[in-house]
């Protein structure tokens, strides 16, 4: 197995060979099965009986790549239940922290995980031999995203200065200004990234997806908004469970999310781009135009370009926030627990991350529900693989497997938060 491939994971070890299995019979795809492990169930149980103040830090441990997303969804859910609404500089700082996570997560996926597929390398280690400057650029971009997270979060992986109501401590303006030069470099590098990936060759493939993302009236949604889709969905996040369900499927330990009216759906950069393009910054829009990514974009392989466009936006947005920043004092709003249910849904790098908590009068968690973005994309990934593989059955198995892994990576599936996997296995009968 190569370094960038999806790994056979922990539960796979217990259950035998895991991952994606594509069964082919008589030149037809007979079956596509995803066999994965989804840990949030454990975290949901672990959270019961704990105080609301612990939820952001505990759930941040679910994913090492997108801890901010977990913290943000958890904070918003608690604030929703306790009826507090941090505004102004606190809200802006949260947005800034999220920009850091988008930059680091997108840089990691574009440069270290997905680009080698497009350029024909087994992994980034092989790619680095021929494209050392690109790899260095990706690493520096990621590092700048991490630097933002370190400054606002205390430490980059699992930020610790976020709390329900705001932050334990807000950075001084000077500390943020110290990042401006790096962010300007990052913005240029992100524009170069868009040009670089737009020149890749993309498989001809598209499907009529239902894209789902948050939409906010005034900004490219990160922390707040209504859930909308290109097929008419438009609901407040508290109605999530009336429209989305988690299905148990026999071949997988994971629950697959489905939209009750239309079944499979697609979350993440491509969904946000298609639904909220009008709210991107002028530079991000210009990059998108040059890259020639049409809207609606229904080719999931273009996701790598859209990630790069979002990276341009995240750098732009971070610079905008820093330019007008004045430290909030105090850096949090007081929170008084009360009996209630709270909902949080924010745009993790990979798509919407839904949290719901029920609290007692002391702010102890009675129940928790967490739906990570990768779980929501699983059904679309299965459908993609089935359709994608059907048109490529003439390829030898190793080539087909390679291309299918590339197709799975379009979704940047998070191996630590929804899955712990995997390789695509092709079986012919």
């Amino acid at each position: 197995m190569n370094a960038k491939s999806f790994k056979v994971g922990v539960l796979a070890r217990v259950e035998g060979e895991g991952g994606f299995a594509i069964k082919i019979k008589d030149q037809h795809v007979k079956e596509v099965k995803l066999n994965i492990f989804e840990p949030p169930r454990f975290f949901e149980a672990f959270l019961r009986g704990r105080k609301y103040t612990e939820a952001p830090d505990i759930t941040a441990r679910i994913c090492g790549i997108c801890p901010v997303a977990y913290q943000m969804s958890a904070c918003h859910a608690a604030e929703d239940a306790f009826e507090v609404h941090p505004e102004g500089a606190i809200r802006e700082l949260r947005r800034l922290l999220y920009c850091g996570e988008w930059i680091e997560s997108h840089a990691l996926h574009i440069y270290l995980l997905h680009a080698p597929d497009f350029l024909g390398y087994e992994d980034v280690i092989q790619m680095a031999k021929d494209h050392p400057e690109a790899v260095q650029r990706g690493l520096r971009l990621k590092k700048i995203g991490n630097a933002l997270m370190t400054l606002l979060g205390g430490r980059e992986i699992h930020p610790i200065s976020v709390r329900v109501g705001g932050f334990y401590k807000a950075p001084a303006k000077k500390q943020l200004q110290a990042l401006e030069d790096d962010l300007k470099w990052a913005r240029d590098a992100a524009v170069e990234t868009v040009e670089w990936v737009a020149a890749f060759t993309f498989p001809e493939f598209q499907r009529d997806y239902e894209f789902v993302a948050l939409r906010h009236p005034n900004e490219y949604a990160l922390n707040e908004g209504r859930l909308v889709s290109n097929k008419g969905l438009n609901i407040p996040i508290m109605d999530y469970e009336q429209h989305f369900a988690e299905e148990h499927v026999p071949h997988s330990n994971a629950l697959h999310s489905v939209l009750l009216e239309h079944n499979a759906y697609f979350v993440g950069p491509l969904a946000r781009y298609n639904l909220n393009f009008d709210q991107l910054s002028p530079l991000a829009k210009e990059s998108a135009k040059k890259a020639g990514i049409d809207r609606p974009c229904r080719n999931p392989f273009h996701g790598i370009v859209v990630r790069a466009i979002e990276m341009v936006y995240a750098c732009d947005e971070a610079l905008r926030i820093i330019a007008s920043y004045e430290p909030p004092d105090p850096p949090f709003v007081e929170v008084t627990p009360q009996v209630g249910t709270g909902y949080g849904c924010t745009e993790a790098p990979r798509g919407i991350l839904y949290h719901k908590y029920r609290f007692d009068e002391h702010g102890l968690i009675l129940s928790a529900k967490i739906v990570p973005p990768t779980a929501q994309n699983l059904k679309s990934i299965e459908h993609d693989l089935s359709e994608f593989a059907s048109t490529r059955l003439h390829l030898p198995n190793d080539r087909l497997q390679w291309q299918c892994e590339q197709a799975v990576r379009n979704y940047d599936p998070c191996i630590s938060c929804a899955t712990h996997f995997l390789t695509v296995r092709v079986e012919r009968e």
Binding site: G64, I125, I415
Partner: protein, 164 residues
């Protein structure tokens, strides 16, 4: 040199909510008080790009992580990564798509490996969600910790440390 260099770095890798995956962190906590002050101690989740940064700021790196190679649980693997490539099973053990093994090999490709990199891989049994080490792994913890501490104490003073 822009970043501060250290005589040595000791890195414990793991996720405390993934049972035996946390053994690197457990070793770190076990020996922390015995580690000299000029050795930097880092607790990492296994994000490879963080480890690349570590490689850039230390002359000697000692790292402990949980692995699944198929050996009996509790087996201690010691790999001198400065002279040998990490085995393929090492990358299979990570919760990150770009983990310890990828970072070490990328650093090697980019000629950024420190003078010495010693990796301890502790064979885990249970990697499912949970906060306890399995008994087989917990049992070898004192032995691993003692061996790792000896290795840390034996790292030579770096040039930058001499210069002080």
């Amino acid at each position: 040199m822009s970043a501060a260099r250290h005589r040595a770095m000791f890195v414990g890798v793991g996720n405390p909510f993934r049972s035996d995956d946390a053994v690197g962190i457990a070793v770190l906590h076990f020996i922390r008080s015995g580690i000299p002050s000029d050795v930097k101690v880092l607790e990492e989740t296994g994000d490879g790009t963080e480890l690349l940064e570590v490689c850039r700021t230390a002359d000697h790196v000692i790292l402990v992580d949980a692995v699944q190679s198929g050996a009996p649980p509790g087996t201690i693997h010691r790999i001198d990564a400065s002279v040998e490539k990490l085995p393929s099973w090492f990358s299979r053990s990570s919760t990150h798509a770009f983990g310890v093994a990828e970072a070490i090999e990328l650093a090697r490709t980019m000629q950024e490996l420190p003078a010495s990199v010693v990796i301890y891989g502790i064979e885990g049994l249970d990697f499912s969600a949970g906060t306890e080490l399995s008994p087989e792994v917990a049992q070898v913890l004192p032995k691993v910790a003692a061996q790792v501490l000896r290795e840390i104490l034996a790292t030579p003073l770096s040039e930058s440390a001499h210069a002080k």
